[in-house]
């Protein structure tokens, strides 16, 4: 890959550019492709680059692949960001409470964390969606349920070191409520290593959403890239582009998230080093 020749910063720039393009795709989707992307737009199985009304062709039902890709970017990014934010939030709160309270509270919260970690995350998400029913919100919750344990452990470890600092003792001497100390004094200072996980979390969430959709557990009212791949599977031999196009989009999205995330973490580490 040509990116290898570049140093770290161009990688981050590439990641940010990819994400910006995806964000533009997602935002422009309703303007460039108004109407329902799941409605039939033309003849079935038009090959890409044949008919310029459908630059990337149509699927088995005659739906415009390009329109589906644009609208799919909305779902992927929205679910990825929301699920990652939800898991980071749950994880940070649980980790902070466990690390700060210590004792029995710590034991209970960490055993719950253990319990969640012993169940494979994807299985948990799968089970949750199949019980509650597929909709965008449920998918977000399902992914968050399967991914919050990582940030919880990182936050707890950080909080354990921070709670012994003098400024936490000062806050107690000042008479601050323990919950206020935990969430106003300790948690903000424990955040950097937790936020460093965010790129992995977003990328993981996008892939989990795609996998759920592939198995038919995505929101049926929305176009998703995973759903498109599953749809194309039936005609994989005769029309492989139906699966390849959304697959390539997924690869680029996850790659973009990773590169941008790494760049941001790297940059903030440099900044902290200089301060």
């Amino acid at each position: 890959m040509s990116l290898r020749r570049f140093t770290r910063t161009p990688e981050a720039v590439a990641g940010v550019v990819v994400l910006a393009l995806l964000a533009i795709m997602a935002l422009a989707a309703p303007f460039l492709f108004p109407g329902d992307p799941q409605s039939i737009a033309g003849p079935a199985l038009v090959r890409p680059f044949q008919d310029w009304a459908f630059p990337l062709g149509t699927d088995r039902l005659g739906r415009d692949v390009l329109a589906e890709l644009f609208h799919g970017a909305r779902t992927s990014l929205a679910v990825g960001l929301a699920a990652a934010a939800a898991s980071l939030a749950i994880g940070t709160i649980v980790g902070t409470l466990a690390g700060f309270a210590g004792g029995i509270v710590d034991e209970i919260l960490m055993r719950i964390t253990d319990a969640f970690q012993t169940v494979p995350g994807f299985l948990l998400a799968l089970a949750f969606v199949s019980v509650v029913g597929p909709s965008l919100g449920v998918v977000v919750i399902a992914i968050a349920l399967s991914a919050w344990t990582g940030p919880a452990r990182v936050a707890r470890a950080e909080v354990l070191s921070i709670r012994e600092r003098d400024y936490v003792a000062s806050a107690r001497v000042a008479g601050m409520h323990p919950l206020a100390i935990a969430f106003r004094e300790v948690m903000p200072n424990a955040l950097p290593p937790v936020l460093a996980l965010s790129s992995v979390m977003v990328a993981g969430a996008i892939l989990t959403e795609a996998a759920l959709s592939f198995l038919g557990l995505g929101d049926p009212n929305r176009v998703t890239w995973g759903g498109m791949i599953a749809e194309g599977r039936a005609v994989l031999r005769t029309a492989p582009f139906l699966s390849i196009a959304p697959g390539v989009m997924l690869v680029f999205t996850v790659l973009g998230v990773y590169l941008a995330g790494e760049g941001i973490v790297e940059n903030s580490a440099v900044k902290r080093g200089l301060a």
């Binding site: 003098d166 003792a169 107690r172 001497v173 000042a174 008479g175 601050m176 004094e185 903000p188 200072n189």
Partner: protein, 264 residues
Amino acid sequence: MTDKLLTVSGLSKRFKRRGDDIAAVAQAEFDLEPAETLALVGPSGSGKSTIARLLLRLIEPDAGRIIFEGDDWLALRGSALRARRARLQMVFQDPLSAFNPRTTVARALEDPLRIHAIVPRAGRPQAVAALLDRVGLSASLASRAIHEISGGQRQRVAIARAIATKPSLIVLDEAVSALDVSVRGKILELLNDLQRQEHIAYLFISHDIALVRAFAHRVAILDAGCIVEQGPARAVIDAPQSAVGKALLAAAPRLHRNRIEDVP
């Protein structure tokens, strides 16, 4: 007994770590009058800071009684304890680590005013300015981040934070040890002024015996968690009876020792 500000008796604390059982504080007994300075001196690991942390209820003792302002200080719990903390404050050794790294001078000083509802929100900027003025700092420092000001200024802010709640006792845990000599003198002057004007008592924890002689009214010498000697600062330091007291005096810099020996 009732006119004492603080009475500590039989205070003990043991730490268990990897099988070791260490008596950090054993049967400590001391008391403090209002507006008095009692110094706790002793070698490293003699339990000085543990006593400070016990007094501030940052850790709980294994045994003992602490009577503060006539009440059983160890019986206080939860919100009652948090409310009474206004009267017993602390200044830490390292002024940088004693503040949240993300805070500003103004926020550090507003916290106690808000928590103890001393000043309504609208009056807080003026109250912060008055506190800064009280410790000899310019009110323009209020908007600075805590890491943007010097170590001496930071320790003044720490003192301002401690006096914000109008305490009757401030524990100074090596509060001037991390400061350079010229700044140290000015901070001690400030503490003396505050004591005269606001009648604040100090528990002054230090290993600098010359400093203690000049600053404290009374001194208690600690060794391995026990108070081995207690009395008026000058008398004890000029003629220590305990082995630890003699060793501390011998370890003091020569300049100080000469001066101390000059005193008949």
